[in-house]
Amino acid sequence: MTDSLEKEKLFDEKGLRLDGRRVDELRPLKLEIGTLSRADGSAYIEHGRNKILAAVYGPRELHPRHRAIADRALLRVTYRMGTFSVGERKRPAPSRREHEISMVIRQALEPMLFLEMYPRAAIDVFIQVVEADGGSRCASTTVASIALANAGIPMRSIVTGVAVGKADGQLVVDLSDLEDKIGDADVPVAMAYGRNEYTLLQMDGKLSKEELAKALEMVEGAIETIYEKQQQVLREGFIQIREEISESEEPSSDEGDVPDTEIDETDMESADGD
């Protein structure tokens, strides 16, 4: 999306993308929950070269108090990039870009939470990018959503993010860094997949309205694949926790333990969408 670089080829002679993917193929994806031992809930994602951690605290008392909302919880999302997560060292102070991404991720998660259940409380989501690659705001949304589930926060549905775009004239899902940088358009998206609702939508570049229609169709296939991985890791995490509980007679007293037992089946069902 820069106009100064000579357009490099983004497809090989077989019509595959430079990393060998087909146009509708995702980069390698790895998900994990309960990664951060001091948080109420947490998760980790590797998506392409993105390496992102999410920690969730709450529902908990809100400081400063005057920001409390009488009839619901305040959701706060903080997205931060590590200084070494990108090519040139990022300065430690949050940039305007990080503030904006924090906002769009918050608005991507918020519609699926029952904030009205926790008046005057805070739910805090901290996202730390350890390494950044194309689509880091989407991957952050994906990982934050399962960190919320891991914290036992009830949800209407899990939220799933991925980008779609156009590179070298072709529509492609899940843009790599280079496709994002020298491609024609980037459309980061997040959805409550089971509910067919978009909760995050941005677009930079150039698309006709017909291309956009096709792009959204394509992206929903990619969303489904990631969504199923999210469900699987949460299910496995849930089984694992049940085993841990039956193994040990008494809960550990270490203050670092994650209160995973708060996730019960009700939450997981609601996470399937309704």
Binding site: M1, T2, D3, S4, L5, R96, R97, H99, E100, S102, M103, V104, Q107, E110, P111, V187, A192, R195, N196, E197, Y198, T199, L200, L201, Q202, M203, D204, G205, K206, L207, S208, K209, L212, A213, L216, E217, E220
Partner: protein, 264 residues
């Protein structure tokens, strides 16, 4: 903070279900647009934009600087927005908050990804000297839809701006001349913002509509009728069909909007 009574909220919903809006406009009607260019003689460009009662001033200052290492032949446009109490009792002093940051970035991206201004035209000497344009947006009255009004005033500022000519000698010293030239540009992009209130979606929301909307979708349509930027915000959701409908409607509405912009 602005608030709205339950009665007003209900009345608005009833009107919307009947296909009407609280201020009498149709769902696809923009408020009147007025542009007053060149209001600040010390700025290299400036314009005041009115979108109904919403009022925004943008001014542009130019300086000469180095390009970013990865784009050695491109100038730099830096957009920022100031939401001071001048424009609304709900704005506060201090460094830009989330709303001001989003506003500036949405305006910036809508211009950046359009064909409007080629940043390579802002290059003076590759790798060493480029124009830096600072577009600063000040909100004078917020009666809703700051994004579209700010976009209008930023675009009008660029369209009526004058860059100082610059000479770079062999030793790489730049001299800013007293001569000016207009910026080269294509047809400008137009930003159109839709608000979803229950199941109705209206363009160019006023403050009262913003108070009850669940979701906002801003779409920037370039001079060639392609989409060059989108931004969903708010804590609601949109279906794929709703998104595509908004894009379709934006492509129609933009034609009217384009006619009111200043000509070069």
């Amino acid at each position: 903070m602005d608030i709205i009574s339950e009665i007003e909220r209900e009345r608005m919903n009833e009107l919307l279900q009947a296909g009407k809006r609280i201020d009498g406009r149709g769902f696809d009607d923009l408020r009147p647009i007025k542009i007053v260019p060149n209001i600040v003689s010390k700025a290299e460009g400036s314009a005041e934009a009115w979108l109904g009662e919403t009022r925004v001033i943008t001014g542009m200052k130019v300086s000469i600087g180095q390009p970013f290492p990865d784009t050695p032949n491109e100038g730099v446009v830096v957009t920022s927005a100031e939401l001071s109490p001048i424009g609304s009792p709900s704005f506060e002093l201090g460094p830009p908050g989330e709303q001001a940051i989003e506003l500036a970035r949405v305006v910036d991206r809508g211009i950046r990804h359009s064909n409007f201004i080629q940043r390579t035209k802002l290059c003076i000497a590759e790798g060493t000297h480029v124009y830096l344009l600072f577009l600063d947006i000040y909100i004078l009255a917020d009666h809703g839809n700051l994004i579209d009004a700010s976009h209008l005033s930023a675009v009008a500022t660029l369209m009526t701006s004058q860059l100082p000519k610059v000479e770079v000698d062999e030793e790489g010293n730049a001299t800013i001349l007293e001569e000016f030239m207009p910026l080269e540009m294509e047809a400008p992009p137009i930003a159109l913002t839709f608000a979803k209130i229950n199941d109705s979606i209206v363009v160019d929301p006023i403050s009262t509509e913003e108070l009850v909307m669940s979701t906002r979708l801003s779409i920037t349509i370039d001079g060639d009728d392609t989409i060059c930027s989108m931004q969903k915000s708010g804590s609601g959701t949109l279906t794929r069909q709703e998104i595509l409908d908004c894009v379709e409607r934006a492509c129609q509405i933009v034609k009217k909007a384009r006619s009111v912009l200043p000509k070069r």
